[in-house]
Amino acid sequence: MNISLDPWIWISALLTVSIFSFLYRDNPFYRFAEHIFVGVANGWAVTFYWHNILVPSLFDPLFRRGQLLLIIPFIIGILYLTRFIPRVSWLVRIPIGITMGYYVGASIPADVQAYIIKQTQGTILTSQNFQAWNAGNMGVVWSIILFVGVICTLSYFYFSKEHKGVLGITSRIGIIFVMIGFGAAFGYTVMARISLLIGRLQFLLGDWLGVIH
């Protein structure tokens, strides 16, 4: 056993143990660590935005280099703070509208390209897609299963017609693919969390207590 003498290791370890204490039940140690996390994370965010955005992109160019065009984002940004003044709080809709409008507009071509065109390209039965699996002749079979799976899954989410007849069959196959997908995603997520847990235990038993190497 070789316990660490680094104060930061002790701080990290005690905060980690405090968070894990929630597994027993809600307690003051957990609440203390939780509030520290929120406070520090927000304090760090202030620093990040100040040093990486406000100073280099706004204050330096506007007040030191005289780029007067930046007065526009400065004034629009200030409008966010009108949220705290009830009489003019409606002005907060202006920066929200600009931000949301631009991102919503930009998301249309980007999402169509990434989520519809590219996904369809990867699904249709082409010799290129057959070879993409690196599975020899089985690549054709995997591609056909994938193609059928996508069509059937889409048919399951088609609610404009009652799920009877052909649509009933395809939607039934579709839900099978959806459930396998949910199960796989769940399993993968759990294992990712377990991996984080192993990391924390390695820190506690290795870096802090020095029990393992």
Partner: protein, 220 residues
């Protein structure tokens, strides 16, 4: 005015967001560049100020009214102020005017990030492993074919990524990978394409002013 102006701005900015992909004209590209690299970045920083203002207001209110667990709000506010002062005046790695080192003990912003935010963040997510396992134990019952499929695929994928899976059968890891690559992708892709159509419809509704819930309450 109170709702009309924001709706006009959403429309204009939404159209700019779309046409910058298709119009290489310098006016369009320069405007888009200004939006991306200046306006929206700066607005995001001010939005953070709004969020922090709301956070502090909620906790100050909690302290003032002595609501349940109000003492912890002091912890949050004090830690927030200390971290902000260290970061703003001490710089990210201690290059600012405020000293961020006592002897060999350094407490600059990067050190705080590495030793408080990173471990606490990963511990919070690691904690979810227990809750997910507990929820799965209670919820995963093989009551129907669909539930059995979900259970089986989750079990195979979990075993497949463990060294134990290889011990049970050397084919198990590759079968788990096949589940991830073929049926999982088929299901997820079907959902993704559907979601994309949903995003498309909602985006158009927002740009055209049909969807107005983001305006919140208040006068016309």
């Amino acid at each position: 005015m109170k709702k009309g102006l924001p709706l006009i701005l959403v429309f204009i900015c939404g159209i700019l967001g779309i046409i910058q992909y298709f119009a290489p004209h310098p006016v369009v590209q320069d405007t888009d560049n200004f939006f991306r690299n200046n306006l929206l970045k700066i607005l995001a920083a001010f939005a953070l100020v709004l969020g922090l203002g709301s956070l502090l207001k909620v906790h100050m209110d909690k302290i003032k009214r002595k609501r349940e667990n109000w003492q912890y709000s002091w912890v949050l506010i004090i830690v927030f102020i200390i971290t902000s002062i260290i970061g703003l005046f001490g710089g990210v790695t201690g290059e600012g005017p405020l000293p961020t080192r006592i002897g060999s003990f350094s407490f600059d912003n990067q050190t705080i990030y590495d030793n408080v935010i990173v471990p606490l963040g990963s511990t919070m997510f690691a904690l979810l492993a227990f809750f997910m396992a507990s929820a799965a134990y209670r919820a995963f019952r093989a009551r129907s074919t669909e539930a059995t499929l979900l259970l089986a695929s989750a079990f195979i994928v979990m075993l497949g990524v463990l060294p134990l899976g290889d011990r049970i059968s050397p084919h198990l890891p590759s079968f788990a990978q096949w589940i991830m690559d073929v049926p999982n992708v088929a299901g997820q892709r079907g959902i993704l394409i559907g979601v994309a159509f949903g995003i498309l419809a909602t985006a158009l509704k927002i740009i055209l002013g049909i969807e107005r819930s983001w305006l919140g309450g208040g006068g016309e």
